[in-house]
């Protein structure tokens, strides 16, 4: 617990201040084509953004079929992959995001949101 706290304390002032006025969350969802799985993932991310993060999401959905170079640049192996670029640390959520409620709560994003608010 203690280490967790100190880590946050050192990182927060350096990185979290500049983007504060803009989006609070930067999310990238990589999908492969318009499959059911892709659609489910997109829907679920949008829902979560609304429900758990109360807006303030910079969400981009990228189809790797259209932009294969981005798949390499972002080290995408599995699809769908949701990359949470901000706030740090970087996280990847693999899968269609189904069957999981309170994902972002679990990821400690909302708590962080509350603190920054």
């Amino acid at each position: 617990m203690k280490t967790h706290k100190t880590k946050r304390a050192t990182k927060a002032p350096a990185k979290s201040r500049p983007p504060q006025p803009r989006a609070k969350y930067i999310l990238r969802l990589f999908v492969a084509g318009a499959t059911d799985r892709s659609r489910q993932a997109v829907l679920r991310v949008r829902q979560l953004c609304e429900a758990e993060l109360k807006g303030g999401c910079d969400l981009k959905v990228i189809d790797i079929y259209q932009q294969p170079k981005l798949a390499r640049a972002n080290q995408i192996v599995a699809t769908p992959t949701l990359i949470i670029k901000f706030p740090p640390p970087l996280r990847r959520v693999i899968g269609n995001l189904a069957n999981i409620t309170g994902l972002f709560l679990e990821l400690d994003l909302t708590t962080k949101g509350k603190i920054t608010l």
């Binding site: 990589f30 492969a32 084509g33 799985r37 489910q40 993932a41 790797i64 079929y65 294969p68 170079k69 798949a71 390499r72 080290q75 995408i76 192996v77 599995a78 699809t79 769908p80 992959t81 640390p89 970087l90 996280r91 990847r92 959520v93 693999i94 899968g95 269609n96 995001l97 189904a98 069957n99 999981i100 994902l103 990821l107």
Partner: protein, 580 residues
């Protein structure tokens, strides 16, 4: 022509092969990996999986004009470039020239959260993009199994991998997939289930403190392949797998003979020396002159303008050159003219396989006419006996295929077991010359004889050979009732014989004289006798005359008195007879 019409046609179903360009591997697999199919290479840590895969890719791009994609899960492009640079491959250059694409796939397990179903379309897209960008024909997936550690839900992963291999086949690329070796199965995660066309297992074992890497083709669907475990090494020009040739006995042969450099030894070998391309064994105990005879052979060949490669496992090149100088052989000009090349190494430097692989490499690079291995026993001692023999068989085989004459010296210990101990190797050899020590009279002398020489008349004689300032002289050893005599005993025996001849000559002359003397004595005796006889005969004749005269006189007297006495005539007659 009609005959051509009956020529057996190649079966249409034969698998197309994709040459790896790796020395020896293409021979074992009969031409390379199955084209357009995935091949699994598994093995433990540090046995060369990644290097084999990388070499397959690089050689494909460089030698066969087949661009390739390397998908690395364990090492970054930088690390890989550095690693293969040690083998003389310029990976970065190939990447720049768009011959190879390296894609480093990295998944940080701590970053990943699982949430529901997924697929590996990301990997497919990256791979597909890389293949299409350079028109790749070859693909390497270096340790795909990393995915098992970094991605959740093994069931999904397995079905995705199955799809990946199918997809690779559909793409028509020749793929090499590396995998860690498992405890009970070939691979830790059972990848061999999905890759069923060709499986190669690499191993790295330590025997007697010497580590050797081995390669075995476990499975090659639809093709014949060598099933043995073949040693291989990672050298400065990449991998090389032994054997370099197949083990069939179908070398070309020649009737050409080459001189040994010792005229008298040539004479013992039917007058013309060894056959070109034959294998020669020279056995002897320590100090019997094996290196000297080999050097003579090397010298003779090099002076004929042939290239000679001399593998020495006991002496350094300079030492041999110096030592041979003492018997009048000047080898350094030959070395300078690149006709003679030495390769010296300590036997314990590395394993037998490594030595042999190095030798194969040297031979392939130098293309010698004559190869000398001095002594081969140092090598054989490194491996287990059958293993060592197998290795030497391969070496001889390889040399014979190239019509290279090979001379192996073999160091034996002790006297009588020597022929037995060589029994294993001798069957591989065409000619076998035995060098031996003869001890006696406080000295040690060297003899040699031809134990066997396939396909040529050869002498059955034991010959002594002398090493002097001007080289080797082979002389007749003295063989008599008292055995084989050599050295000073031979010289002494020669003197004795000379003396014996002389004395018998003298004896004969004396006898001759004796006969003459006897004859003369006899003649003298005869003449004496004759003169005696003549004297006596004369005397006797004189007496006889006297007697005759007296009888005559007596008769006359009687007749006169008879007339006087009127005696009977008969009585007169009897008396006449008695007196005569």
């Amino acid at each position: 022509m009609k005959i051509n019409g009956h020529k057996p046609t190649a079966p249409a179903t034969r698998l197309p092969k994709c040459p790896t360009g790796i020395q020896g591997l293409d021979e074992i697999t009969g031409g390379g990996l199955p084209r357009g199919r995935p091949t699994l290479i598994c093995g433990g840590a540090g046995c060369g999986k990644t290097l084999l895969a990388a070499e397959f890719l690089v050689r494909g791009a460089v030698q066969f004009d087949e661009p390739g994609v390397l998908m690395a899960f364990e090492e970054t492009e930088k690390e890989l470039t550095a690693n293969v640079a040690a083998l003389g491959f310029d990976l970065a250059g190939l990447v720049r020239r768009k011959k190879i694409v390296v894609d480093y796939v990295h998944i940080e397990r701590s970053e990943v959260q699982a949430s529901g179903e997924y697929d590996l379309e990301g990997l497919f897209v990256r791979l597909g993009h890389a293949i299409d960008s350079i028109g790749a024909k070859r693909v390497v997936l270096d340790t795909l199994e990393v995915l098992f550690a970094s991605l959740p839900n093994e069931a999904i992963l397995r079905s995705e991998l199955r799809r990946l291999f199918r997809w690779l086949k559909e793409k028509g690329v020749t793929a090499v997939i590396t995998a860690e070796r498992g405890r009970e199965s070939l691979t830790r995660h059972g990848l061999e289930e999905y890759v069923s066309d060709c499986v190669i297992v690499l191993d790295h074992r330590v025997n007697d403190q010497i580590a050797t890497r081995y390669l075995r083709v476990v499975k090659y669907r639809g093709a014949l392949h060598g099933t043995n475990e073949f040693p291989f090494l990672i050298g400065d020009t990449g991998l090389s797998v032994l054997p370099i040739t197949s083990l069939a006995l179908n070398h070309k042969v020649t009737n050409e003979r080459i001189a040994t450099g010792i005229p008298r030894l040539d004479a013992m070998l039917g007058g013309r020396g060894f056959f070109r391309g034959s294998s020669i064994l020279l056995t002897g105990t320590a100090g019997t002159g094996k290196t000297i005879i080999s050097s003579n052979f090397a010298n003779a060949a090099a002076r004929r303008g042939e290239r000679v490669l001399f593998f020495s496992f006991e002496e350094s090149p300079n030492q041999i050159i110096r030592n041979m100088h003492s018997i009048g052989l000047r080898l350094e000009p030959l070395v300078k003219r690149s006709l003679l090349k030495f390769h010296s190494a300590r036997p314990s430097l590395c394993g037998l396989e490594m030595h042999l692989a190095t030798m194969f490499k040297e031979i392939a690079a130098f293309q010698p006419h004559v190869v000398i291995v001095d002594p081969v026993t140092s090598l054989m001692e490194l491996g287990a006996a059958p293993e060592g023999k197998g290795m030497v068989t391969r070496l001889i085989d390889y040399l014979k295929a190239g019509q290279t004459t090979s001379l192996f010296t073999s160091l034996t210990h002790g006297g009588h077991v020597l022929q037995q101990s060589e029994g294993g190797m001798s069957s591989l050899m065409d000619s076998w010359i035995l060098l031996q020590d003869f001890e006696g009279n406080g000295e040690r002398n060297r003899v040699l004889y031809v134990l066997k020489a396939r396909g040529m008349k050869h002498s059955n004689q034991i010959r002594e050979f002398l090493i002097s300032d001007h080289g080797i002289d082979v002389v007749d050893a003295y063989i008599g009732a008292s055995g084989v005599l050599t050295g000073s005993a031979r010289v002494a025996q020669g003197d004795l014989e000379k003396a014996a001849v002389l004395s018998s000559q003298q004896e004969a002359a004396q006898l001759e004289r004796e006969v003459e003397r006897k004859r003369k004595a006899l003649e003298r005796q005869i003449s004496d006798l004759r003169s005696d006889y003549e004297g006596e005969a004369l005397e006797l004749r004189r007496i006889a005359e006297q007697v005759g005269t007296r009888t005559l006189l007596l008769g006359t007297e009687r007749a006169a008195s008879g007339i006087l006495r009127q005696a009977d005539a008969k009585v007169t007659a009897r008396t006449r007879v008695r007196s005569s």
